[in-house]
Point group: C2
Chain length 342, copies 2
DNA sequence: ATTTTTTGCACAATCGATTGCGCAAAATTT
DNA sequence: AAATTTTGCGCAATCGATTGTGCAAAAAAT
């Protein structure tokens, strides 16, 4: 057995005294090839350990059977679950998944988009970087008719395929829950207003307050950026130092909610008695912390699956420009951090 | 501007009245092309928005500049961090990263290996599935001289490139720490003995006991499989139901340690006073739980980086068969769950 | 038995970049 | 001025699979 040498359709063709084109068609069971020839070719292919060269096929077809993914950072619970969903679905359909991290930087995102475009991906799934405000780097995909599906963090200005949740409704629901628990002064960590997710959650928060005739107070809306554990601690300290501290807190992610709980503990603020807290995402950690964190479920794996399905549908059937938006359900998950026995 | 039509070196060549080969060489600053021509070509390439077609280059070179990755499941903290490290390093060098999940199933792993092989990846990074006991599916990579680097969960029987930690030393260290805290009956959740990581941690545990003349008791070594949160709860309950329960517990991952802490809490077992617990991995969750979990640090991101570096080194220089094993440092991270004030 | 249709396959171009070989013009040496 | 070397670039094959076109043999229709 020669090493380093792959069997090609030419080898098979030569051995069977047929043309390479016949072998190619036989392997695909093309109707213009007789059953006997098909059997023969397939048998020999099996014996010789023939493996189709995807690269050659990709070149010929200008199609790679590869999905490109651009996300912020893989090692975040939501993101890794999203990718997990994408990968499972794509691989079942025989597609490969190429991933790239933007690290929430616009420049990285642009560079990754270019790289994936050059790699001739069949489609692209994107969850935008926090920084991203313009979307020119996706234009060439649109022009080349390569489907792009945005997930979770989507552009508001661009007509596109989307898989999202109703962040407004979720924010509203979370806030209303705190109100129902008797909270009168409800604070919010305000995420980057560039991104739909934080913007909408914030809007939901404000409208819930309005609906229930609670005042909207500037000092209770503290702006963050990365919404990391560290930043969460900073924001929480800021909040708890107010002369008139809040009795409820809606965090736009679980990470900062965790920070808030820990910070509250240190200061001797009782959760949920003195301060009811609710997060967002249902990260694994939210069920572990003490007290367990109330949160909004976020169907990450399912989002990934659906995004991949959308992409494959458009990639295969070349349906053009029926920009669909899929909105997935979220649920209020009440745990102890917000549950008062009134 | 025509849509759907990519600029090729032929287009550039035609416009400049030179041969495509000249364009190709000019773009690579090949010495046999004059400086002026290089300038000319590069300028036009820029203007026309030329993008090299990786596919065509890959076909010609039988090289894809793509790294394949096979891991168990992306949405685990250790794994996603590992991939993050791989991706960062690879992309800096202009490589793409193709990921696939084995879901800890041997069959999936084999299928993914085949798929990645057919995609002609330039190299492969693998962390083995729990189930995997034979390694034939990597043979074709070896034969084709495609570098394979095993990370963390590596085969013991196959000569290969490896990036690992010293699981034995870590297990020993963890156990000795519990002994130093005054524990006399130290339990261990025994992971799958197919995998080096759990096997070695277990061995470290036993040898530490021996060194300090503590009895090795069968009933304190409880075997798990998935080592999931759910399984952890089961194992913990089993352990705590012993007539003579342990006063120390070394878990081979943080997940089961978390389960154990929660289970202990429910039963009113005080951690660390009655039961000192130490985990493994330093998952984010370990610092959040109450009491904070002592653990062994596991340099996931760095492992990914080094694995990618190893791979790229071998991929580029085609160095053959100098199977290196890189062993990374781990540290004992003492938090409250094991810290007794003796 | 001849014409028409169908069947089964071969030929050759194509996808786009790469590279060994070779040739002519320019530069250098004698 | 002639011989030699160097410089700069073109030609054409190659990587492996795909596919439109065409042609001969077999099958069907007249």
């Amino acid at each position: 057995m020669k090493p380093n040498k792959e069997v090609t359709i030419h080898d098979l063709a030569a051995e069977l005294n047929v043309a390479p084109s016949t072998v190619s068609r036989a392997l695909k069971e093309h109707p213009s090839i007789s059953k006997e020839t098909i059997q023969l070719v397939k048998k020999l292919a099996q014996e010789r350990g023939y493996r189709p060269n995807q690269i050659a096929a990709s070149l010929r077809n200008s199609k790679t059977n590869t999905i490109g993914v651009i996300i912020s950072l893989i090692n975040r619970p939501f993101v890794s679950s999203l990718i997990s969903g994408i990968e499972d679905t794509a691989r079942q359909e025989g597609y490969n998944v190429l991933i790239s991290q933007s690290h929430d930087s616009y420049d990285h995102e642009v560079a990754n988009a270019k790289a994936l475009y050059n790699s001739r991906v069949s489609g692209l799934i994107v969850s935008l970087a926090t920084e991203t405000l313009q979307y020119d780097h996706f234009e060439e995909f649109f022009r080349s008719n390569i489907p792009v599906v945005f997930v979770d963090r989507v552009p508001e200005e661009v007509a596109s395929h989307r898989v999202i949740i109703d962040n407004f409704a979720a924010g509203f629901m979370a806030t209303e829950h705190l109100i129902a628990q008797g909270c009168k002064r409800i604070a919010h960590f305000v995420g980057s207003q560039h991104r739909n997710v934080y913007k909408e959650r914030f809007r939901g928060y404000r409208e819930a307050l309005q609906k229930h005739h609670l005042p909207i107070e500037e000092e209770l809306m503290i702006s963050g950026n990365s919404l990391s554990l560290e930043e969460g601690t900073k924001l929480a300290n800021q909040l708890f130092s107010l002369p008139n501290p809040p009795d409820g807190l809606f965090c736009p992610n679980d990470t900062t909610a965790i920070s808030a709980i820990q910070c509250a503990k240190k200061r001797g603020i009782k959760v949920p008695e003195q301060l009811a807290i609710i997060g967002f995402n249902n990260d694994p950690i939210s069920s572990i912390i003490d007290p367990p964190l109330s949160t909004i479920t976020h169907p990450a794996v399912e989002m990934g699956k659906i995004a991949a399905q959308q992409l494959l549908k458009h990639s295969k059937h070349k349906e053009k420009f029926s920009h669909e938006t899929v909105v997935l359900k979220t649920e209020l998950l009440v745990r102890e951090s917000s549950l008062r026995t009134i």
